[in-house]
């Protein structure tokens, strides 16, 4: 091989450069996400284990039942009944989306689009209405694309 003295160190340097993110984080673990649980309530609609693992499937079922089947009451494994509503039932106890939902979702880089439409409890006071006076029709065409 011609120029092996240049190529081999070059390749090693290249591999090291490309794997910089790996070496930079070697031996360091990102802190475990710690979502803040509601203080007044001890139990969710199902067990903690189930909610951790299956909450997305449960919410999907709720959404399907409410919107498409007009069924609004959830009966859990202990026979208790709940109103199937993210905005009105889940967030009644989990009063802070930023300290609960977002903590784990940010950690795993999951971006569910629930809050594009549903109103998180923190935002119940409303959105900036002052800005609307400055918004023109032209500005609206420059709004970012939807994340739907």
């Amino acid at each position: 091989m011609h120029d092996a003295g240049k190529i081999i160190p070059g390749m090693i340097a290249f591999v090291l450069f490309v794997t910089i993110p790996f070496w930079a984080n070697f031996g360091k673990a990102a802190p475990e996400p710690k979502p803040e649980l509601p203080k007044e309530y001890k139990k969710c609609v199902e067990s903690k284990d189930f909610m951790r693992r299956e909450h997305m499937k449960l919410l999907r079922k709720w959404r399907f039942d409410v919107v498409r089947n007009n069924m609004r009451v959830y009966i859990n494994s202990e026979g208790q009944t709940f109103d199937m509503s993210l905005q009105n039932e889940c967030m009644r106890c989990h009063t802070q989306k930023k300290k609960f939902c977002d903590v784990c979702h940010d950690y795993v880089a999951a971006h569910p689009y629930c809050w594009n439409c549903h109103i998180p409890p923190e935002e119940k006071k409303g959105w900036a209405t002052k800005e609307t006076e400055n918004l023109t029709e032209e500005v609206s065409s420059k709004q970012p694309a939807s994340h739907h």
């Binding site: 959404r63 905005q87 439409c117 109103i119 409303g126 959105w127 029709e137 709004q143 939807s146 739907h148």
Partner: protein, 208 residues
């Protein structure tokens, strides 16, 4: 639903139903006509009933405004064209929307002969002055319309517009029940429906 336009005529400035509906459902008040969102609104006779309006219209009809909203058709064209079944007909007859499924293709807007649907050309949230925290908003890129307050009916309440009307001009009930109050009103009065000749079977009746 039956709308008694004789009552509405006596109160030309009353917009209680529109305000109550738009407030309860977080409908934005967008000042630009092209981006407007509406679930229930007022229109004059020749726009509401273009197929039967003519230039020799009686003053009796000319002077009044008609409340327009989704007609919750018996054969809804919007449902037929929706490619994702985001718009569908419930077994009780209400034409429902699943906002989670709407991809914003606007086929339904082209199909609806009543102009009952609005498209969110922009994020509606900056235009909602007092959001109702119990009801979601919509996002940019979806179509929306009146849903006959399915969230109220589920808890045994009448639609918001019906309850908000201070003069009792709006009546809501079960069309399929021959003994219901709504059927009695329809039998006893001269009622119009919008663009019946199209065969969509609208479920909103106007007493004139």
């Amino acid at each position: 639903m039956v709308i008694d336009t004789r009552v509405c005529k006596e109160h030309p400035d009353c917009e209680a139903c529109i305000e109550a509906c738009h407030k309860a459902h977080n409908v934005p008040n967008i000042p630009f006509k092209r981006h407007e969102i509406k679930w229930i609104w007022k229109e004059e006779f020749e726009h509401a009933f273009p197929d039967i309006a003519d230039e020799y219209l009686s003053e009796y009809l000319h002077d009044r405004e008609f409340l327009l909203l989704c007609n919750h058709c018996e054969h809804p064209p919007c449902v037929r064209v929706c490619p994702t079944q985001a718009t569908f007909k419930r077994t009780d007859g209400i034409v429902m929307m699943d906002m989670h499924r709407c991809i914003g293709c606007r086929f339904c807007m082209a199909a609806c002969p009543y102009g009952s649907r609005s498209f969110n050309w922009r994020d509606p949230r900056p235009f909602i002055k007092e959001p109702n925290p119990k009801y979601p908003t919509r996002m940019k890129g979806v179509v929306e319309k009146c849903l006959f307050c399915t969230e109220q009916l589920a808890f045994g309440e009448l639609p918001v517009c019906v309850r908000a009307c201070p003069h009792g001009a709006l009546k809501f009930g079960d069309l399929t029940d021959p003994n219901s109050e709504i059927n009695q009103i329809i039998r006893e009065n001269f009622v119009l429906r919008r663009k019946v000749s199209l065969g969509t079977g609208p479920s909103v009746f106007y007493i004139v």
